[in-house]
């Protein structure tokens, strides 16, 4: 059974110590720059020289590389291959596979897109690895994010593992009543109702109970709310945020003027 649907890994590192909002700005800046920069190798170099060192500094190099190799690389790789092979439009043919011609320009464009996707996802993975989701939401709520929005995110993260656990119990309960879940595909189609029925009914009941429970604790109260946990926001955090914002503005301006 999964205990939580969260990538978060607790470590004692300078990256973990950053304010969640700072990390969000950092990741946004990386992604923004990576997606807008013109250089062909920019995204690749950023992964190698910014994200990897950051992962190392977070003491999460193994976890980061693990996710990158197992999840992100196959996704980006698949897109790269499909686009290279099936999107026509180049002029310099590299090789031919029957009726499919693979051109240098397409391959280059596919690589650019794939490397940007790799950067995009892996930057977010690093954020999720180093930031507890409820801390991030709590910090954003304090900065003015509507609490309803934060609730939707947090409750989804909580509900999914709960539903997984419940689904496991339902399967166990129905198998105990002689339901053969190891049978042929056609028989399996008939299993849907006994398995999904209780899951849906149960979830609807749970949603109502949750709504009542949070309302009982004044969720929709219009008074100014206080926060239980103090999330540190140091001058260094502010400095990093302003630097990054400035950096993005300058790079954007530079592109507009120089192009």
């Amino acid at each position: 059974m999964n205990d939580r649907l969260s990538f978060y890994r607790k470590r004692n590192s300078p990256v973990h110590a950053l304010n969640p909002f700072t990390k969000l700005i950092l990741v946004s800046a990386l992604i923004f720059y990576g997606l807008t920069a013109k250089g062909f190798w920019t995204a690749t170099l950023m992964v190698a020289f910014v994200l990897l060192p950051l992962a190392l500094a977070s003491k999460l190099l193994k976890e980061y590389v693990g996710v990158a190799l197992k999840v992100i690389l196959p996704t980006a790789g698949f897109m790269f291959v499909m686009q290279s092979v099936f999107i026509p439009g180049g002029t310099t043919e590299i090789f031919r596979l029957g009726f499919i011609s693979v051109e240098l320009e397409t391959v280059q464009r596919s690589y650019l897109i794939a490397s940007r996707i790799f950067l995009f996802i892996s930057a977010f993975v690093l954020l999720l690895l180093t930031t507890h989701p409820s801390e991030l939401m709590s910090d954003l709520t304090r900065r003015g994010l509507p609490p309803q929005f934060a609730y939707v995110i947090i409750s989804t993260l909580q509900i999914i593992p709960q539903m997984q656990a419940k689904a496991q119990t339902i399967i166990a309960a129905q198998r105990s009543r002689g339901l053969d879940t190891e049978s042929s595909f056609f028989k399996r189609a008939g299993l849907l109702v006994p398995l999904v029925g209780p899951l849906v009914f149960g979830s609807l009941v749970e949603v109502e109970e949750r709504a009542i429970a949070i309302e009982a604790r004044g969720f929709t109260s219009t008074r100014t709310k206080t926060f239980l946990h103090d999330i540190p926001d140091t001058p260094a955090d502010k400095f990093i945020r302003w630097t990054l914002t400035l950096f993005i503005i300058i790079s954007l301006a530079a592109r507009l003027w120089l192009s």
Partner: protein, 268 residues
């Protein structure tokens, strides 16, 4: 049908050692209550009886079947298991269809399914609610539907996981009655419970578990009298037993009759 458990060990994939060497024989027709603190391994143990879990080491045999060699669906013909939360299993539009689901899965002929369902509904006092949608019933009656749906499978062994949790007195009495009828029919009943009075009144044999091991196993009177040992697994002897002890009874009493008999004995 005997249950034979020998040196059963079980470790969850997360690394939690839930069972650390359980050896146990339960004869056909025995009524066994299992008590113990949360996390003692009670549910893990009974989930081995119908093959939902397979031993990490050791062996579980239901009659002549090694649970590792038979699917849960097959074992369901021998072991019925009432889960704690009825909402984890109810899905049909009416009570009768719901109760018929198990016996149908076991492949009984149609007339037998009908007969078993009617009997189970009678036993659980649901006969006047057969057309109701289970989700329109109160939680206590939903529990009875879940119990009926397992009893209708007519298995020689029936397991109840905390049947009395959240039930009112009338419902607890109904569940006790179901267990009594099952006993009369020679079924083996194994019940996990935190309700020590319910345990004392309905089970001849009691097993106390703690940290994946069996702490005590024996006649209910003997086990429930071991106040010091039971304290290790956060179980208090039933109130009457404790009162009897304060009054200086030599034997542990479980119910009102035994208490009154012991009281008369003392004053005589």
């Amino acid at each position: 049908m005997n249950i034979e458990i020998s040196d059963l060990h079980f470790t969850y994939p997360s690394g939690v050692q839930a069972l650390r060497g359980i050896s146990l024989t339960i004869e056909a027709g025995e009524q066994v209550g299992i008590v113990g603190q949360n996390g003692a391994g009670k549910t893990t143990l009974v989930r081995h009886l119908n093959g939902l879990l397979h031993p990490t080491a050791g062996e579980v045999k239901i009659g002549d079947w090694d649970t590792r060699k038979y699917s849960v669906a097959k074992l369901a013909a021998r072991v019925g298991y009432v889960f704690q939360n009825p909402d984890d299993q109810l899905f049909s539009r009416d009570v009768r269809t719901e109760v018929a689901f198990g016996p149908k899965n076991l492949g009984y002929p149609k007339e037998q399914v009908e007969a078993l369902v009617s009997e189970a509904l009678e036993m659980t006092e649901l006969a006047d609610k057969t057309e109701a949608n289970p989700y329109d019933l109160s939680p206590t009656w939903r529990k009875m539907v879940a119990i009926a749906s397992v009893i209708a499978m007519d298995t020689p062994i029936v397991i109840f996981d905390e049947p009395t949790t959240g039930q009112d007195a009338a419902s607890v009495a109904r569940i006790a009655n179901v267990i009594r009828v099952l006993r009369e029919r020679g079924k083996t009943v194994i019940t996990i419970t935190h309700d020590i009075d319910f345990c004392a009144e309905n089970f001849e044999r009691v097993i106390a578990m703690s940290q994946g091991r069996i702490l005590l196993d024996g006649k209910a009177n003997d086990v429930l009298g071991q106040e010091e040992i039971l304290a290790a697994t956060y179980v208090d002897p039933p109130q009457l037993a404790r009162l009897g002890r304060r009054l200086g009874f030599k034997e542990t009493v479980r119910n009102e009759e035994e208490f009154l008999a012991a009281l008369k004995n003392m004053s005589a």
